[in-house]
């Protein structure tokens, strides 16, 4: 068994947290089979307090103050800077759009250790919040549909799970910080999303005045109703206006075809009767009835109460984590393992970071298996050129039980048509080692990496860590957006 020390750093619109966890990796196959490495346990070692995200002004994060918070938490947890094996720094919610996000991540990268992902993107956040909250586990154990709503300061991230499978996500600019109040209850800030909603409802809120209580309640109730619509996997005219920049229309999850088919079936049926769990800061405002309206100087308590009074609450369950869901997701759920029979030409290649993924279309893959590569070669070369990256990964489905001849044809076709350094191939089925060996004998490229059991999909990036467990498997993080590191 091997242990990986993982760090999660969540810089949200309103709060910042640090968390350390330990992932146990072991070979679960027994002695008489091919190895099968799995993450066998995830244990949280240390949780920081919930800090307010330090801001320079309304649009920029105070990178120095943030670095100090993180340094202090490493010291409290007694973990040397750079001593982690894996993990993720995630800038979530509206913050991800803030102009200095890239600089903030660069400032934190000194803490990173060997392999820490700096990532953001509404779809990724939705998934990891749903995992960190316990909603996915609840869905797996109960074999039911669960929708997790991670309601933070700036955004609500929805993640849909069916029997433990992540089947979709969406993200809207609905959160506790839509309105902010001074100590004397006067409105001091109104977000663009709040303004859109107010206009839509015909309500008026003026900065510097104390808003009418009925108007606030009407705004909160309207947003709660929109969240109910969103939680059913549906949309509305107002929701479309509130959709977070970069979030796709209800996006069914990438990944296994089976899960995908299940997702589509579920979506046709609708998530109307799914259980609903809440995480994020506003979740505490949903559950805690005793909070005074301006406990956090913002709109969060209003929104929480409106949700509690709305139809959505009728299906509510407590999945476990609330305000810490995202940081737990970042620390414990971002890292996955490749298959346990893989190919790489050298350990020195890793970590590989920010590898763009080219998802090979099925008809092109069929051609490759027949040894034809013209269409693929052209498209892959174009893709690589556009990404501005020295290498890219070609993602194939592979075959459950491939024959020798067709594998030889595939290996030759890929060796002829892939470009970049190193060459990287990703497969869903268990074909990586054999394809890697066959390719290594026919390619002129210096280095080659072939991994399987990884489902990435179009518009994703990969980080691949150093091989572990005696070299049989590699930690991999699939992410949807990179901010310059």
């Amino acid at each position: 068994m091997e242990k990986l020390l993982s760090v999660g750093i969540d810089v949200g619109t309103s709060t910042t947290q640090v968390l350390f966890s330990e992932l146990s990796v072991a070979d679960t196959s027994g002695h008489f089979r091919v190895p099968e490495a799995k993450i066998t346990d995830k244990r949280v070692l240390y949780r920081s307090p919930v800090y307010s995200t330090p801001l320079l002004d309304s649009s920029r994060i105070d990178a120095d103050a943030l670095r100090q918070i993180v340094a202090q938490e490493y010291a409290h947890a007694q973990i040397p800077i750079g001593g982690t094996d894996t993990g993720a720094v995630i800038i979530t919610g509206e913050s991800a759009r803030k102009e200095n996000a890239a600089a903030v991540l660069a400032g934190l990268s000194g803490f990173a250790g060997k392999f820490v992902v700096a990532a953001a993107g509404p779809d990724l956040e939705s998934r990891i919040a749903g995992q960190g909250s316990g909603a996915q586990e609840l869905s797996r154990v109960q074999k039911c549909a669960v929708v997790n709503l991670d309601i933070g300061g700036g955004t609500t991230n929805l993640a849909f799970f069916q029997s433990g499978d992540f089947v979709g996500c969406s993200c809207y600019d609905i959160g506790g910080r839509l309105l902010r109040f001074a100590a004397d209850e006067r409105l001091c800030a109104i977000s663009a999303a709040a303004q859109i909603t107010a206009d839509y409802l015909g309500l008026r809120f003026a900065i510097g005045t104390i808003p009418d209580r009925a108007a606030l309640e009407q705004l909160a109730a309207a947003l709660a109703a929109e969240l109910d619509t969103a939680a059913q996997g549906k949309s509305s005219a107002l929701l479309e206006k509130l959709r977070t920049h970069g979030s796709k229309t209800f996006s069914a999850a990438r990944g296994r075809d089976l899960a995908f088919a299940a997702a589509n079936r579920t979506l046709q049926r609708g998530f109307g009767d799914a259980l609903v769990s809440f995480s994020g800061g506003v979740a505490d405002c949903v559950w805690d009835e005793t909070l005074p309206p301006l406990a956090y100087g913002d709109f969060g308590v209003h929104l929480g109460r409106a949700i509690r009074g709305g139809v959505l609450f009728g299906r509510a369950v407590r999945a476990g984590e609330t305000i810490r869901a995202t940081v737990i997701g970042a620390g414990s759920h971002t890292t996955e393992l490749s298959g346990s029979t893989v190919y790489y030409s050298s350990e020195e290649l890793f970590p590989l970071q920010n590898i763009p993924v080219y998802a090979v279309p099925p008809e092109q893959e069929a051609e490759l298996w027949r040894g034809e590569c013209e269409g693929f070669a052209q498209d892959f070369a174009d893709f690589l050129r556009q990404t501005d990256s020295p290498c890219a990964a070609a993602e194939l489905s592979g075959k459950a039980n491939p024959g020798y001849r067709e594998l030889t044809l595939l290996a030759r076709a890929l060796a002829r048509s892939l470009a970049g350094e190193p060459l990287i191939v990703l497969l869903h089925e268990d074909n990586a080692k054999v394809l890697g060996q066959l390719m290594s004998r026919v390619t002129s490229a210096q280095h080659l990496v072939v991994l399987d059991s990884i489902h990435a999909g179009a518009n994703t990036y990969l980080d691949i860590g150093r091989p572990i467990l005696g070299g049989v498997t590699l930690p991999v993080v699939v992410k949807t957006l990179i901010l310059g590191v």
Partner: protein, 278 residues
Amino acid sequence: MNEHDMRRLADAICEAVMAEISGQHADVDGREIVVDVSSGSKIVTPPVSENAEILSMKKTTPARVAVGRAGARLRTETYLAFRADHAAARDAVLPDVAPDFSERLGLETVVTRCADKNEFLTRPDLGRVFPRESLEKIRALNPEPIDVLVYLADGLSSRAVEANGETILPILLEGLRAAGLRVGQPFFVQYGRVGTMEEIAQTTGAAVTCVLLGERPGLGSAQSMSAYFAYNARPGMPESERTVVSNIYSGGINAAEAGAYLTEALERAWREKKSGVA
């Protein structure tokens, strides 16, 4: 229960069973075949697998769970499936490999001391040793010194060798040669057990000897193959010096990937001069 009731019950059961055999039950989702006896109790219940969630759980195991029941017994369909799988398992043990199997793979066939299948199954000791002419044939195939020798044997499932041999063998041979090893000429052993590697290694002088053979079929699969290999195999060697990689078939690790894995494992055994739990 009087005679009339008994007859009614027997007729009702026959009717339900016939309906099931003819596949009618499959047409209606979740339909229950209810036989009305005096108490009105259900005798034949459909498998609970109609439920999508239970179906997804069933997919995680080949075990025959959630199959429903007919009274206290298996449903006809379940029983027939069981009998069919059992027959397949027996069929995999009893017949020989297809006559053109060795030819298709370009392999010579050598036979152990077993005269026929029956002797092979009843005399495990004879399935490990060769008559002199077989050993001479093996030696003639491998006159030069070799580092690694890989060969096939029928073992307890001819079906397994037929299903996987064609894929795994070329991958292994090509991979081992590419690693710079001197690889022996493979062959097929009829009526062969794991222990054949002992005399074969002694005869050829191979440093690492690897046999690919059919596993004893279970009710789950008759196509599963195992690879056993040893460094310095010799008569009387302890079992602990053998390494085994099992479950090579479409439901375990596919033959191609297993071949790639074994290529590295054999190369390592040769380099480190050890195998098994040593």
